[in-house]
Symmetry: C2
Subunit: 107 residues, 2 copies
Amino acid sequence: MSDIYKTLEPPYYAVIFTSRRTAGDHGYAEMSERMDELAKGQSGYLGIEAAREDLGITVSYWRDLESIRKWHENSEHKLAQIKGFEMWYKSFKVRICRVEKEYGFEG
Amino acid sequence: MSDIYKTLEPPYYAVIFTSRRTAGDHGYAEMSERMDELAKGQSGYLGIEAAREDLGITVSYWRDLESIRKWHENSEHKLAQIKGFEMWYKSFKVRICRVEKEYGFEG
């Protein structure tokens, strides 16, 4: 289960991954768990938040653009990206963002 | 139902709102629908994406920081923000981000 990520002070970076799934699992759940685990071991990884209804939104947080670039180029992640095109996603969008300000509360 | 937002060219802005709800509705569903409707009428509003499981993630997209500031200051929205503190959310975080790059595919 992902939780609200307690981040560092901005600026840092967020990758917003929005997707629609195809029907059926086709190894998706296993890959998703593996990618979470792999991301956590990457340099510059800060945290992740995720929710899915009809639309899925996963936001991962990173220290800088270089960390995001390296994660994008990770060979095991690359294979997952190819399979994503081929079988898991009907459509998706990736947005690379610079987090400039944050606030919130813990009730 | 929110859909993957087909945006303009970056840069534009995203507000990532991550939350945990309290138990029960207490007028939340009605307010949420009204806020969606109200946001859509705001100057600089571009679109919205949302999903909730245990964690809720709503990402709204805006043309610039001034549009976000005006939406934040909207009087009806302000009332909803106060009620959010009082009754709807156990915890939340708001992140204001500059979208620097995007890519995706439509299968």
